[in-house]
């Protein structure tokens, strides 16, 4: 295919996925999709399920993982399901091409001349899908049954007819059925639009032309990735980092890789990582591969979002590893594990690609929830993820208060949270001294302090980095640890401030009116030796209060 037509078709295809993203973001109900863009859309191969095209604005982690979801549908069809035009599958099975139960996938075949030409899919993070805790981040889960309802691939639409029974089952299993209904509708709208656009593109250019364009784009992506790998020295590097615990047993978990570069191939061997654990920080194999893709794309930012990129990468992930689990091992806290995986990959490249890496970011999603009942008996659930510092990088200090590398999420305005829930933020500020020292300092984490205005509430936290701080690269130093305090009032002395025994994870905190919780999030790791930091920058940090003379620990 000529390079000009290919460039044009690439833009047209990407645009279809972008338009699906835009449709869902604007009509979704829950802020996790509408504001945090925890969703994604793409076009997938009819036979292999491989990612062909992915939207630019969706959640980065979904870029790799959606292919496995489409494969799950292909498997279902090959084992006897009758696939018809107008069918739409729905599921959230995390072991069958998923991430965690909150992420609901809709997969739709696109038919041309009576045969499946490709699939399009939509994934979005729903607000609540049952389970033991509102919002589904249950740090004490030992089986996925405690995390929420699990739906295997089933038909939501049968030849264009909605199966209302499924919507009723889903609604009955959520604490927030309205939100669920709104998000589901948004995803259906997105698929409708994607199908329409794809058909008109195919009408304009023919199936053959689009097929060969997709093939060529994959081949070019593969070639580009190989060029990046060839530029690195042949070697094997071993790196490991740790998770605080699994939320059930207070033992650290090791996330270790051996990264081997051999000519134009890369092998990532996870064999030295911990075995499957009791608590919810396990992940499935598909999630492990997808997270690796995210890390590689943060380092080699110009590689496209299609299956070709991972062709030169070989994965070794043992069956008993916590990075390759099956049902019903709990996986609700998958975000923490994949953030650590990304940190490990940054560290592995720090010497061979020192001009491309950065210090580790804050490395935890910090899912904090407060919930209770209002005087009129209605239930409220405030559930949000909180930010921290990014790592120092070759061009400068890390970004203060950034979003997690696996997402492009923004945080809801505190005024929206205060208007919606009976709480008051008493602090929403940067956390001095939290950035790792270095030639380029890590960005600062944040301090969020919340006071309860209602009679009673329950709080829980699912975080990480309470024991092992975000590392720096190229001799940059660590950022500050994650800290959480609760159960104290405005003028209480520090000894009244309680901390979770497991540091970063706790459920069932009872709060009374006037009591507070405080989250102090990690800063990013530093880049380069701190002795190389200029005097001017050191003084500026002190003058502005990013760093203070007396470091409080």
């Amino acid at each position: 295919m000529d390079a000009v037509t290919l460039a044009i078709l690439k833009g047209r295809l990407e645009q279809i996925a972008d338009e699906m993203d835009a449709t869902l973001f604007r009509s979704a109900f829950n802020p996790i999709i509408a504001e945090a863009h925890d969703a994604s859309h793409g076009i997938y191969d009819a036979h292999t399920g491989e990612t062909l095209i992915q939207g630019k604005s969706g959640l980065p982690i979904f870029v790799g993982v959606m292919a496995f979801a489409v494969q799950a549908v292909i498997q279902k069809v090959s084992s006897g399901d009758d696939l018809k035009e107008g069918d739409v599958y729905i599921f959230n099975d995390p072991y069958d091409g998923g991430t965690h139960l909150s992420d609901f996938r809709l997969v739709k075949p696109i038919f041309r001349n009576g045969a499946v030409f490709c699939y399009i899919a939509s994934v979005g993070h729903w607000h609540d899908v049952g389970g033991n805790v509102p919002g589904n981040y249950n740090p004490k889960a030992t089986e996925s049954f405690q995390e929420g309802i699990l739906i295997p691939p089933v038909k939501l639409f049968n030849e264009g007819r909605l199966n209302q029974d499924i919507v009723n089952i889903l609604s009955a299993n959520s604490r927030l059925p309205n939100s669920l209904y709104g998000d589901l509708n948004g995803q259906i709208n997105a698929l409708d639009l994607g199908e329409e656009r794809l058909h008109s593109l195919l009408d304009e250019y023919t199936e053959e032309k689009i097929t060969s364009a997709l093939k060529e784009l994959r081949e070019r992506a593969e070639k580009m990735m190989r060029q990046h790998i060839v530029a690195l020295p042949n070697e094997t590097i071993a790196v490991e980092d740790y998770l605080d615990n699994d939320g059930v047993t207070d033992d650290p978990l090791t996330l270790a890789i051996d990264l081997t570069i051999k000519d134009d191939k890369m092998t990532i061997d996870f064999s030295k990582s911990s075995d499957a654990c009791a608590g919810p920080v396990n992940i499935s194999k598909s999630t492990t591969i997808a997270a690796t893709y995210v890390a590689l794309k943060h380092i080699f930012t110009d590689v496209p979002a299609n299956a070709g990129v991972l062709k030169p990468v070989e994965f070794i992930i043992p069956e008993d590893c916590f990075l390759n689990v099956r049902a019903p091992k709990p996986v609700g806290g998958y975000t923490e594990t994949i953030l650590r995986l990304i940190d490990v990959i940054f560290q592995a490249f720090q010497n061979s690609a020192s001009d491309r890496v950065n210090g580790c970011a804050y490395g935890t999603i910090n899912a904090l929830s407060l919930s209770g009942y209002r005087k009129n008996g209605s239930r409220w659930v405030m559930f949000s993820f909180f930010g921290g510092g990014h790592g120092g990088h070759p061009e400068g200090d890390g970004l203060n208060h950034g979003n997690a590398p696996i997402s492009t999420a923004t945080i809801p305005p505190l005024e929206i949270l205060e208007a919606a829930y009976p709480i008051q933020f008493t602090q929403w500020g940067l956390r001095p001294n939290s950035g790792g020292k270095g030639k380029h300092r890590g960005g600062l984490g944040a301090i969020y302090e919340i006071e309860l205005l209602e009679e009673e509430a329950n709080a829980f936290l699912f975080g990480e980095r309470g024991k092992f701080a975000p590392k720096g690269v190229i001799e940059g130093e660590e950022g500050a640890l994650n800290q959480f305090f609760y159960g104290y009032e405005a003028n209480d002395p520090p000894e009244k401030q309680l901390s979770p025994p497991l540091k970063s994870k706790i459920t069932g905190i009872g709060l009374k009116r006037g009591q507070r919780v405080r989250l102090e999030t990690p800063g990013g790791g530093g880049f380069g030796k701190s002795s190389e930091r200029s005097l001017e920058k050191l003084n500026y940090d002190l003058e502005q209060g990013y760093v203070t003379e007396t470091k409080d620990d």
């Binding site: 980065p60 070019r220 794309k297 943060h298 110009d302 203060n400 950034g402 492009t408 205060e418 502005q544």
Partner: protein
Amino acid sequence: MTEKIVIGVDVGGTFTDILAFEEKSGRVSVAKTPSTKKDQSKGFLEGILKTTNDLSLVSTIIHGTTVATNALLERKGAKTGIITTLGFRDVLEMRRRDRPKTWGLWGTFTPVVERKNRLEVSERTLADGTIRSPINEKEVENCAKTLLENGCSAVCLFFINGYANPENERRAAKVLRSVWPNKHVSVATEILPEIREFERCSTATLNAYLQPPVANYLGRLETRISVERKKSEILIVQSNGGVMSVETAKSLPIRTALSGPAAGVVAARQIAKAAGFENIITGDMGGTSFDISLIANNQNMLTSQANIDFGMTIRTPMIEMTTIGAGGGSIAHIDLTGLLEIGPESAGSDPGPACYGFGNDRPTVTDANLVLGRIDASNPIGGKQKSLDYDAATRAVDNHIAKKLNLSIHDAAEAIIKVANAKMSGAIRLISIERGYDPKKFALMPFGGGGALHAGALMKDIGLSASIVPRYPGVNSALGCIMSDLRHDEVRTLNISLEELDCKNLAKNIEEITVESKKVIDRSKAPLIKKERIIELDMLYLGQTHSVSVSVSDDLKKLTRQNIEKAFLKSYTRAYSRPLEGISIRILNLRVSMIGVRPDIDLFVFSKGERAEETSDCVISKQKIYSNGAWHEAKIFDRLLLPGGSIIAGPALLTQPDATIFIEPKMNAKVDSYGNIILSEEMF
């Protein structure tokens, strides 16, 4: 006899464009003069004197300015301080917890106010408006003192939940204004009494940051003009496409952030309306970018928010514009996968395209157009140089594209244009779809120097039925200046469910805003034919975070819950196709816009002026044009001399001092009675 003149002045990065309009005779004169970057008011006056030598005849000068935009982009505002609620000094720096790019974690952000100049006072208002702690006046005074000692010349006052009850902020503002030595005090709820702390704080802070430079500039301008002429009124174009008095602009400079481009879209709307086009998409092609804006049912689309740069958020009504990196100076290159890409890197206007001969040797979109014969090398637009270097353009295309793709030079140049066109048409499609419109129902209005070179291809790519090229595409913004109405926008956060809404109270609220807004409009002495009011509600379903804008009747007696619900369902369905049953509807914000309508300008005047008798009299020369892989013999016409009703079959080039129009083979152009060129594949 005395002839009243209205003058539009658009100061851009490279040129200052002037359009002078004599009200009685309808005579129009156009001038372009280099912008004077150090003090824009200098080039401003020089330009005006090019169109008229008697300033005493000038009744009104309407000005689109980039002073605010440049001060923001170049971080050249005033040293500013913030006084805020205890616990929240970092709101400005923490943003909404985002990052500059999705891929790659190398972001850095330096807010316009240093951390040491962000001071806290103990005060707190809750979300329901309850004051939990009142202000301590002494504390505010001390903060002001510290900021002044630190050298701040402007200050922003911003309290959490001020939108719900501005009492604390009002009291603090009174103290602050009594001790602050100048007028540069921006109070967040006076500028934007709307929920969302970062957006409000950022908007108010940037306003404070701009107050000194914009006030100084406008002061200088007034002095320069009044030395020559005592009584001419100066009006400033806002980002919403309306104009305001100089006094208002000095206190609300943030509302001028997109002043110039907004005026261009205003002109586009009026020209299209007169020519009988209700739905158009404007495409303004400059040196570095292509700016797209949608006009549906003859209304400009407004957006409530935009980012000037990463973390520099402005929330005030603005004409919605989407900018993509595909301008005349955008550089073509081959990426690592071997694909041809255009931009985002741009040669801008300095050094500019390779054919400018100022040191850039990489091919740009303009170079490709030149190689294909779509620009007349001997008549470059803007007058910056006498002729363009055809050989330099050819070399650039050959070395960087043709050889690498194994194409002929002309096929490579055409590929550059095709990829650039695909980028522009893709953006146009996405924008229409995001707003819920079918782009096929629109006509294209290209302007800027290069827009009309691509109009035919964009029409075909998107499936548009026509393009309409205005008579002066290169000075469209200056024209828009003289067409803009006075406008003042206000917003209040309501945040209540529709069931709870007290319509009488809402009407009272609207009346109060109306009284205040009328005062702002009346600050200007410009003649008005009437005042209009637009009332809109930002509404959503309970649980959603993105609202839809719902227009409600200006007749406050019709303001009932049923009518509001009906209007909401209509807007919602248009945007998302599926309304939702059984979910409570909420009203987030009330928006009231007061418009002072200025006398219409009869666009028919553009059909006047010197014209040739016959179309054939306008042929300047002939040129070979490459299109769709073949050479075509084409005539070059003097566009401004073409008589009304002229029909020209493509391929052809129409040239004028400020723009070039390329009529593709198999496309036809017609000069309408207003002097516009209409492009179509149909026969006329």
